[in-house]
């Protein structure tokens, strides 16, 4: 916990406030163009600054970087502690990226109270960035709540016909969770007894399993509602359907990630034992979410609602991967957060674009759009394919890693989740077919304009990223490597330390440190106790207990980082 | 001026006055009278303050009287203004007819 001397993070987080200040001086009615320009410029500069963050980021280190540590409320030990590691870096990038697009997307969509709208948007960005960068629990909570209000306003003021209902539902659900989290934070503060809310101080806390459980639960509700994990998801479709396009985009792309990020940043490292004991429950909930979201999405008539339920399904994957607690699972879920942000965000953008033209989102009102708006259809196609996880596009990489991870943790979960992949294709294709294919049946669709340059400009960067991640995911995986490795290793150590009987540490005198490393890195699950799985059981356990040369060699080969390509000339 | 009057006499007197005030508040319906009764209640309390001040050899009671008086003055000013407005709009100062706060 040191101050790196750089204020880059502070600048990034609070730059939008400067934009707000500028906007305050503009006349809301007469200078709409200038207002939009200022908002766009602010977010754009912010995005460029985060790019700087990316290039300067040291991918080899698992430590927090760009740290800033200043006292804030000294009497309570609250500090202004910022910093990012591989886990938050991608999400920070995603945030600034999607906010630019969201501002662009509201260019013509929002015509009333533009000034207030943009101010809410920029404040939202402050909240989101702050929450991703905060390393002080109190600070995190402040930013966490800060996001809530602009979003509430975005839905409640600029939303659809049932906006007030949706906004209040959104607010109450999230609030209910975050209050519990506050209780948890305060509890931790007193337990730590160091007069500090600092994450790193609290991390050093050794909690009993029982305490961990209760604290985990307190945090769980806040994050699970935000994600949303299965039974807490009903606010999501309403909020999405009623929110303005940009609101849905931000909501789907970033706010939901707050929940998953929270699990990864706080719940798992702080309460590993509770996480372990809760993992089956959460995995099952995630699974239910995957299948349930997909099934419900299938029968939706409103495109936006369909996309909203598909979010439930996709975030189920994220949760499943995370609670597999191994490299592939966690890294995949991290990548999938970004993927979901991109593809679902883009889907909402696309739905918004068509809504702006036709003022309807019912699937039955469309059909045969390809003929009329081919560019729109092409973008839609690519995004849809990315959403259903076609290899070569981003969704596949994330889903694949998650499933590989989940498969190692529990085969049954992975099998069931894979069914979700099939269902994902079903509802998306079906919707796509009904909207895009066929002949034009509704005359209102005949005069439809194709995308204009601004809209193409919005979607193109997303498509580029979608393909980029799909073809060369290393760009995005590598920065997360070290941090995820540490996270998984920390978790494994905690679990191993607490329950030596489930450990597979070699008793045969093999190098213990080496074994620990392997355990930490590969995240090999303990051998299953179920007899039917014994014969299929991961050979890792055998490899470690018997020091037989061939498997040993294999393992070594596996664990050399970046030993992907086989030695040449093997014929 | 003998000191034969014990403290408890004063206190009983103050209780009597206070209770009369309470009874007034509860029984009367004219807002103005109710206000007056509140003043009576305050007076009862004031009496006990002063009595205690006297018997405890402390000035705090008297100081407190001063503040009670100020608050009472403010209260009367605002309260009467409110009564005035109510009267303007409802042509009555009967508190039982004013139930706008009903949930």
């Amino acid at each position: 916990m040191t101050d790196s001397g750089s204020s880059l993070l502070t600048i990034i987080i609070f730059l939008p406030l400067l934009g707000v200040l500028l906007l305050a001086f503009l006349n809301g009615e007469r200078q709409k163009g200038a207002i939009r320009a200022v908002a766009l410029l602010t977010t754009l500069i912010d995005f460029l600054l985060t790019l700087r963050l990316w290039t300067a980021f040291d991918a080899g280190s698992a430590d927090f970087q760009f740290e800033e540590l200043r006292p804030w409320i000294e009497s309570l030990g609250v500090t202004y502690h910022l910093g990012i590691d591989g886990i938050s870096l991608l999400l920070v990038l995603l945030t600034t990226f999607m906010t630019v697009l969201a501002v662009l997307a509201s260019w013509t969509d929002i015509t009333k109270r533009v000034k207030e709208y943009m101010i809410a948007m920029l404040l939202l960005e402050v909240g989101m960035l702050g929450a991703f960068c905060a390393l002080d629990l109190f600070l995190f909570y402040v930013f966490w709540e800060l996001m809530l209000i602009p979003m509430y306003l975005l839905i409640g003021i600029w939303g659809g016909p049932r906006r007030v209902y949706a906004a209040i539902k959104f607010f109450l659900f999230t609030m209910a969770g975050s209050v519990l989290m506050l209780v948890g934070i305060i509890g931790l503060y007193f337990l730590a007894g160091k007069n500090s809310f600092d994450l790193l101080d609290i991390l050093s806390l050794q909690l009993t399993p029982n305490l961990q459980f209760w604290f985990f639960l307190a945090f769980f509700f806040a994050f699970a509602i935000k994600v949303p994990v299965f039974p807490f998801h009903t606010w999501l479709p309403d909020a999405h359907v009623e929110a303005p396009t940009a609101g849905s985009v931000i909501l789907a792309a970033i706010l939901l990630k707050m929940g998953t990020y929270g699990f990864l940043r706080f719940s798992v490292p702080l309460f590993p034992l509770a996480a372990q004991s809760m993992a089956p429950l959460i995995s099952v909930l995630a699974l239910i979410g995957i299948l349930y979201g997909a099934l419900v999405a299938m029968v939706q008539r409103d495109v936006k609602k369909l996309v909203a339920y598909s979010s439930v399904s996709h975030l189920g994957f994220v949760m499943l991967g995370m609670f597999a607690f191994n490299m592939q699972g966690v890294q995949g879920s991290l990548l999938q957060m970004v993927n979901h942000g991109l593809s679902t965000g883009a889907l909402f953008l696309i739905v918004g674009m068509i809504y702006e033209r036709r003022h309807t989102r019912l699937i039955s009102d469309f059909g045969g759009l390809w003929k009329q708006v081919p560019i729109f259809a092409a973008f839609f196609l690519v995004i849809m394919l990315s959403s259903i996880g076609l290899p070569g596009l981003n969704g596949f990489v994330g889903e694949f890693l998650i499933l590989v991870g989940a498969f190692q943790a529990n085969r049954l979960y992975a099998v069931l989740a894979t069914i979700g992949v099939i269902l994902g294709a079903v509802y998306m294709l079906w919707m796509f077919q009904r909207v895009i294919f066929g002949t034009i049946t509704n005359d209102a669709n005949r005069g439809l304009r194709d995308l204009n340059l601004r809209e193409i400009g919005i979607l193109t960067p997303i498509v580029v990223l979608v393909v980029w991640i799909g073809v060369y995911p290393a760009t995005f995986l590598r920065p997360t490597d070290a941090s995820v490795r540490r996270l998984v290793a920390g978790y494994q150590q905690a679990v191993q330390g607490a329950a030596p009987r489930t450990s597979v540490a070699p008793a045969t005198g093999a190098d213990a440190a080496w074994a620990a490393r392997v355990l930490g890195e590969a995240g090999e699950p303990p051998p299953s106790e179920r007899p039917w799985e014994m014969n299929l059981a991961a050979i890792g356990s055998t490899a470690m207990t018997s020091a037989a040369p061939p498997p040993m060699e294999r393992r070594m080969g596996r664990d050399v980082p970046g030993a992907g390509p086989l030695p040449a000339g093997r014929r | 001026m003998s000191f034969t009057v014990p403290l408890s006499w004063y206190l009983v007197l103050s209780a009597i006055v206070f209770s009369i005030g309470v009874a007034g508040v509860l029984l009367r319906r004219n807002a103005l009278v109710i206000f007056m009764c509140i003043e009576i209640m305050l007076s009862g309390v004031n009496l006990s303050f002063i009595a205690f001040s006297r018997f405890l050899h402390s000035m705090s009671g008297q100081i407190f009287f001063f503040f009670v008086m100020t608050v009472a003055a403010a209260e009367v000013a605002v309260g009467l203004a409110i009564i005035l407005t109510i009267f303007r709009s409802r042509e009555s100062v009967d508190v039982d007819e004013v139930n706008l706060l009903r949930g």
Binding site: - | M1, V5, L7, S8, L11, V12, A15, I16, V17, F18, S19, I20, V22, A23, L26, L27, R29, N30, L32, V33, F35, M36, C37, E39, I40, S43, N46, I50, S53, R54, F55, L56, H57, S58, M59, S60, Q62, I63, F65, F66, M69, T70, V71, A72, A73, E75, V76, A77, V78, L80, A81, I82, I83, L84, F87, R88, S92, V93, D94, D96
Partner: protein, 180 residues
């Protein structure tokens, strides 16, 4: 002397409650206040007595009388059947309350530590002097606070008593000229 003043006080208070006409109530209230002031003198709190007469019996009651005259309302005999039980209940409550308090205070009252201002000392220094000195030293902040309170009350009263609510667009002349 105590008894005489006490009788005046109680009697006047009762009349305040019992009188049907608010004007009489107000006048009886003044009488009660005067009685109370007498009690204060007995208690060697001359300055308080003076304040009681000046502020209560003088200023506040004038205000009361003024409003009473201004409104000039009589106690209308509205149907009270609905609230009769409440009145009864109130009366019973009052009596019980009184009983309780009286029982509590009537017995031997044990006093805490005594302060420095014995009657002798007070007589030496002068009640008003001590009072003033304390008010402007130890209780200065509270004193200032009350001044603010009074200011607020003043403004509040003025705002409330205005003919038209603040900020409302001017209603048609006919409406504003409506008699109170």
């Amino acid at each position: 002397m105590f008894v005489i003043l006490a009788v005046i006080l109680v009697g006047a208070s009762l009349m305040v409650v019992a009188q049907r006409n608010p004007v009489y109530s107000a006048l009886f209230l003044i009488l009660a206040f005067l009685g109370l002031a007498g009690q204060f003198v007995l208690l060697q709190a001359q300055i308080i007595a003076v304040l009681q007469v000046l502020v209560y019996a003088g200023a506040i009651m004038v205000l009361f009388l003024f409003v009473v005259m201004l409104l000039n309302v009589r106690d209308r005999q509205a149907p009270e059947a609905k609230l009769r039980w409440q009145k009864l209940f109130g009366l019973i409550l009052t009596i019980i309350l009184f009983g309780l308090v009286a029982v509590t205070v009537a017995g031997e009252v044990r006093l805490g530590p005594q302060g420095e201002f014995t009657p002798q000392r007070l007589a030496e220094l002068g009640n008003a002097q001590v009072f003033g000195k304390l008010l402007f030293t130890d209780f200065l902040f509270l004193f200032e606070a009350t001044s603010v309170l009074l200011l607020v009350a003043m403004i509040g009263a003025m705002v409330l008593a205005r003919r038209r609510p603040l900020g409302a667009s001017s209603p048609p002349p006919a409406a504003s000229s409506r008699a109170d």
